[in-house]
Amino acid sequence: MSEFKLDFSNLPEDLTVPSSLIEPEPPPPEPEPTPEPLLGFAGDDQGQTTKKKKTKHSNAGVVVFHHSITIFLLLLLLGVGTWSYLTFNKSSFFTTGAVNARAATYHAHLVEAQLYRISTALEVAYVVQERYPAQLDELVEMGLLLPSDLYYPLGIQGYDYARDQKSYRLRVIDASEPEIEIITD
């Protein structure tokens, strides 16, 4: 009886052969001693081989020092954090009186500038139409002002405007802000 042998030479290329049918290859030679994988946190391994060898033989004192530092740092962070949290509500990041007073000062200047701007538009409208507009919205309709001009700067509720034949009164709707009254002959 002749010995039966498998022949894989004529099999299609995309056929996967069970590995159990294939004669096992001889085991690979033992790899040469190589460095261990060099990963992990950078501070632990990279370039620290000399230091690491030394720390392997460190005594108990170093361990105690190590953990003491850790505990100290954690307690410090915890303590400062807790203290800061407890006193945080005393800090006024947005509502310091002095700073707000200084901010209010420049706000008044912006209001004044805006009053001047609106009065300029009113004068232009007067020169064009020979009358002051009935309402400030007319200035927007004429294209002289932008819609946002009537509510600028932020924090005001708008402008109060009244006119008669030859004059007008314009003031911001805020009791403490300046007022412009123009009378033309």
Binding site: P37, Q48, A103, L144
Partner: protein, 678 residues
């Protein structure tokens, strides 16, 4: 969602197209401008000299007459013009008559009427008016308010929209508008304030983004190098904890988040490359300059409604009797200063009432000592008054002194020409006229064509330079204004006051500069361009100075030296880190363009892109800025800044999308050459 602008109805794409055309126009005009100016200048000079030949001979002895017109004449001309304009004509002759009357009355600029003409020109444009008429209207508006930028900008805008063939004219008008806008205080200060505010907000945003990228890039390296430096008992975990404590604790103690961020930036600055160091230096410099910028912004924002602005308007606009009386009250009051008294004197002079001129001279002589800065103008005014009174011999010393004190002004030489005319010295008059023309041909040309015999047409007494008003404003005691203060307080808390900013910024700059040699001498670790972990400088000799870190070098380049399992393990872990780095760069570039670049080490480009992006977005959001200028009517887009902002946004978006699509190659930091192993 529509990208169409509500104000202008333009889409960003048409704005971009317009911008491209504008760039081409500006470039061509810039190239052609010197030749055109030379040709125009020669022709103007020839015409002026020809006219001067006859003008210098026109002499009428005695004091000049008061103006023969009143505001009623102006009103009549204005109403006539409106009737003509409503009939669809430009009404140039009516407006010329109106302007001549205004000039006789001493009106230097008439912004209200100029803007009214612009209003009607815009209306005519919307109704399909004749282009020639509309252009004439804009030119008349320019003549009525020669110091204001808006008639010029409106003219340029119209040509840009409707008359694209008029390229040189459009560019010339645009540049004249910008030139006047930069000179005129109401616009210059408003624009300056807008730019400063937008730049500060953009700088703040870009700095936060930059700090975030530097934190991702360098915090691990900082912890690694700290581990190398600290005593043996410190582990890497402890070092990280210690670093966090050092960064966070001062901020917690002073309850100032900003302080912790500043410390963090100073910490990573130790390890940065040169380009990142430059960006950090810019941030610290801005921090150091904050109080000074804040003070300057206070000066800017307090200008509206100030006395300096009122005096400027009195000199450059119209000073009616009520205005003159107010000036008289101020000049004689306890707060009266030289600028107020000069403005008052100028207002009286412009009335042209020679009966009041002797008293005016007494008033001018009554000032103990005029400031040196305006002495030339005062002498010119004195000389002009003497000429107006028909006393050329008394005018000469003042005009000679004024000519020396004002070397670029045509006024003293021109007035000297009038004095020579009165003295019947024709040759000297011609010589003085030529000198005046050489100094300022445009100003002389505007005066020489006048034939009315009143002080405002015959003699040249221009208002003071605008710098005097700004100086007057900054010299005044004003209330303490801080625009940065509230924002600073919200970021830094109330304990870290703004006055500390120069010290913090200076300290940061010192760290940036002093630590530069550490990087140069390869004492500090650098980020690996593959995995982002620290690359120890001591490892350079093991990999021939390659820019990878040692694990990446051994895994991806010298893999044969590792075992199979070790290589597979390293490739898995390092490959994951590499993919994560690329993912971060791409995603961040998509979210905020420039962030990926900063993360990859291209700090200057990244910071610039982020800054530009935020600045452009803010300019689109608030095109008029903080202080809305009084005569900046109709639109907030007088300079075409929307088109510029859209262009900048598009460029930044393209950079971000390109980075997200193709990834950014991290910088390869130079490494020390291979050294012998110790």
């Amino acid at each position: 969602m529509s990208f169409r602008s509500k104000a202008t109805g333009e889409s960003p794409f048409s704005a971009l197209l317009n911008l491209l055309i504008l760039v081409a126009v500006v470039a061509s005009s810039w190239l052609m401008a010197p030749q055109a100016a030379a040709q125009g200048g020669n022709a103007e000079m020839e015409a002026l000299l020809k006219q001067a030949g006859t003008s210098t001979r026109k002499v009428q002895q005695g004091p000049l007459a008061p103006p023969s017109v009143t505001p009623v004449n102006m009103d009549v001309h204005w109403r006539l013009w409106k009737r003509v304009a409503n009939a669809g004509q430009a009404g140039v002759s009516e407006l010329t008559a109106f302007r001549n009357d205004a000039r006789s009355l001493g009106y230097h600029n008439m912004p209200t009427q100029a803007m009214a003409i612009v209003t009607l020109a815009r209306r005519a444009e919307q109704q399909g008016g004749e282009p020639t008429m509309i252009i004439q209207l804009y030119r008349q508006a320019q003549r009525l308010a020669p110091d204001l930028p808006y008639p010029y900008l409106a003219h340029a805008s119209y040509l840009f929209r409707k008359q694209t063939a008029e390229v040189p004219s459009m560019a010339a008008s645009y540049f004249k508008g910008i030139e006047r806008g930069v000179r005129w205080l109401d616009t210059r200060l408003a624009w300056q304030l807008k730019i400063i505010v937008l730049a500060l907000i953009a700088l703040l945003g870009a700095s936060f983004v930059f700090l975030f990228t530097q934190l991702v890039r360098y915090f691990g390296i900082a912890a690694y190098d700290a581990t190398r430096v600290l005593p043996r008992g410190f582990s890497s975990g402890q070092t990280v904890l210690l670093t966090i404590v050092l960064v966070v604790m001062p901020g917690l103690l002073l309850r100032s988040p900003l302080l912790s961020l500043i410390i963090l930036l100073a910490l990573v600055a130790v390890f940065q490359q040169l380009n990142e160091r430059i960006v950090t230096a810019v941030i610290f410099s801005a921090l150091a300059l904050l109080p000074f910028v804040d003070h300057h912004m206070g000066d800017l924002v307090s200008f509206p409604g100030s006395r300096a602005q009122a005096l400027m308007h009195a000199q450059y606009f119209v000073c009616d009797p009520a205005c003159t009386q107010a000036l008289a009250d101020q000049a004689g009051g306890p707060q009266g200063d030289a600028l107020t008294r000069f403005t008052h004197a100028l207002a009286i002079y412009r009335t042209g009432d020679t009966a009041r001129f002797q008293a005016l001279l007494t008033m001018l002589d009554g000032e103990p000592a005029w400031p040196v800065a305006i002495r030339g103008e005062v002498d010119n005014l004195r000389g002009a008054i003497h000429v107006a009174l028909g006393k050329p011999e008394d005018a000469a010393p003042y005009l000679v002194a004024a000519r020396t004190a004002l070397p670029t002004s045509a006024a003293p030489s021109f007035n000297m020409m009038r004095a020579y005319q009165l003295a019947a010295q024709e040759a000297e008059a011609n010589s003085a006229l030529q000198e005046a023309s050489a100094r300022d041909m445009a100003a002389v040309g505007a005066f020489i064509e006048q034939d009315r015999r009143d002080v405002n047409n015959q003699l040249m007494v221009p208002p003071l330079g605008l710098g005097h008003f700004w100086k007057h404003h900054t010299d005044q005691q004003r209330e303490d204004i801080s625009m940065i203060g509230p924002i600073w307080n919200s970021l830094a808390g109330e304990r870290l006051v703004l006055d500390w900013a120069p010290y913090l910024g200076g300290l940061g700059l010192l760290i940036v500069i002093l630590c530069a040699p550490l990087r140069r001498m390869h004492r500090t670790s650098t980020p690996c361009p593959k995995c982002g972990l620290a690359r120890d400088p001591n490892d350079a000799h093991k990999m021939a100075g390659h820019h990878y870190c040692l694990p990446c070098y051994r895994t991806f380049l010298a893999g044969a030296s590792l075992s199979y399992e070790a290589r597979v393990h390293n490739e898995t872990v390092l490959g994951r880190r590499d993919r994560m780095q690329a993912f971060l760069r791409r995603t961040l570039s998509l979210i905020v363009p420039g962030t990926g670049h900063a993360l990859a080490g291209h700090a200057l480009l990244g910071f610039g892109v982020t800054f530009t992006l935020i600045f452009a977005a803010l300019a689109l959001w608030q095109p008029m800025g903080i202080w809305r200028s009084p005569f900046e009517l109709f639109t907030g887009d007088w300079l075409g800044q929307r088109a510029l902002a859209w262009a900048a946004l598009s460029i930044c978006a393209c950079i971000g999308l390109n980075a997200a699509w193709r990834d950014i190659v991290p910088t390869r930091i130079e490494s020390p050459r291979a050294r012998k192993s110790p």
